[in-house]
Symmetry: none
Subunit: 235 residues, 2 copies
């Protein structure tokens, strides 16, 4: 039988809060699909898939945390391995609403994602020393940032897309920069301060959890806002 | 294995009843969305999210109560921390159907909510003496009431909105006054009468549960009524 959440387990409370917020977000994105014009429907579907997949993982992660107080690393990375590519697809869909986008852009974003996550996983799971693994992860992320700020993906935006789509693109770009930066900060506090990972588990998880609220839920809400605005304008 | 509800556990029965009513309400709001015109759909979505999130929490709270006979404080507040902001969003959506509403209104309602709930939580969870915590919570609620009766949010209503929207706004305002007043009454009977909190747990929970029926389900039904009426008028 499962353990009961303690009133002073704030990390556990954050797992719980977010798991519920993810359930609500999923229902929201799936239901609101029918309000937007056809070309925006897929974007809302994908937003809802991100929160759906994450919701299921949060239920499992919550359980691991509440029962053992240890970091649910493997569930976390399984979640990211599905949700980060979905976010990259989302990015690509927004880009495609602006212009014809070469498939190479998409594949480079995927390669960056994979390097980033494999780097992080081998470090957190203890296969490789935490510092070199961190560096590999950072290189993957830097590669994504290069692609969207200076590479082919960045050039696409210059063309004449509707204002709201352009501003969505630029907001999403900042989310991938500022919002995603929270994860390596979490990794730093979890593994690179010299304390034992067991002692830092609370900090690590609360930082990752907060980052997920921003990058999964807020990211989806931005897309919903553009989708609704654009659908109403095109009426 | 989980304990079985006893026929004389009336608090447990109220948890059970409400958890089921919330499931039904969720299905109702989500299904009825397709009857209303696009601008009302989000309001019904949000009503359904409130009851969905609450339904899940009531399943857990019910279990805690039936198995241990103790107050499920932490689940209750996690629920409120999601559903009260959703109700504030609902309020804001109705206001926005009347006029252009400055974002500051929304943020002030959120700040009031947070002060109210943090005050209540630190009191009920035992971090702070129950009386000062209660006062902090009351200040948060007073701040919300000020905003909607005398602040910027109250001024918006004066303009010429459709009758049904105006009357919905005024009903919602009274719900936030009279309906929400039931919660501090519950807190009073739970912690401020001089009896031990364990002895008062039944009273506390039955009062909170009744308040939730009104503030989650009846509140949603009011919105559903306006949405349906307005959608038919605009045909
Ligand atoms: C850079 C870096 C990291 C970045 C992780 C990121 C950016 C994860 C993003 C997850 C998202 C956005 C999930 C949303 O659903 C790690 C692996 C923590 C450690 C290695 C260095
Ligand atoms: C004023 C006050 C309280 C008010 C709580 C309220 C008003 C909760 C509302 C919950 C709702 C509306 C949930 C609906 O989904 C507390 C925290 C009990 C105690 C401190 C003083």
């Amino acid at each position: 039988s499962s353990a009961i959440l303690k009133p002073d387990d704030f990390v556990g409370i954050s797992f719980w809060l977010i798991s519920m917020a993810l359930v609500a977000s999923t229902a929201f994105f799936f239901l609101e699909r029918d309000r937007v014009s056809p070309k925006w429907k897929t974007s809302l579907t994908v937003s809802g898939l991100v929160t759906l997949v994450a919701a299921v993982h949060y239920f499992y992660m919550r359980e691991v945390w509440v029962e053992t107080g240890s970091t649910p690393t493997v569930y976390r990375y399984i979640d990211w391995l599905i949700t980060v590519p979905l976010l990259m697809i989302e990015f690509y869909l927004i880009l495609s609403a602006i212009a014809k986008v070469p498939a190479g852009v998409f594949w480079r974003l995927m390669v960056g994602t994979l390097v980033m996550l494999v780097g992080g996983y081998v470090g957190e799971a203890g296969y490789v020393a935490v510092m070199p693994a961190f560096i590999v992860g950072m290189i993957g992320w830097a590669f994504i940032l290069y692609e969207i700020f200076a590479g082919e993906a960045s050039k696409i935006n210059a063309t004449s897309a509707p204002k709201s789509v352009q501003s969505a693109f630029s907001t999403m770009r900042w989310i991938v920069t500022i919002g995603w930066a929270i994860y390596p900060i979490g990794y730093y506090f979890g593994y690179l301060t010299g304390h034992s990972p067991a002692d830092s588990a609370g900090t690590l998880n609360i930082i990752y959890n907060l980052a997920d609220v921003l990058n999964k839920i807020a990211f989806g809400l931005i897309i919903w806002t553009v989708a609704v605005t654009e659908s109403e304008n095109s009426k």
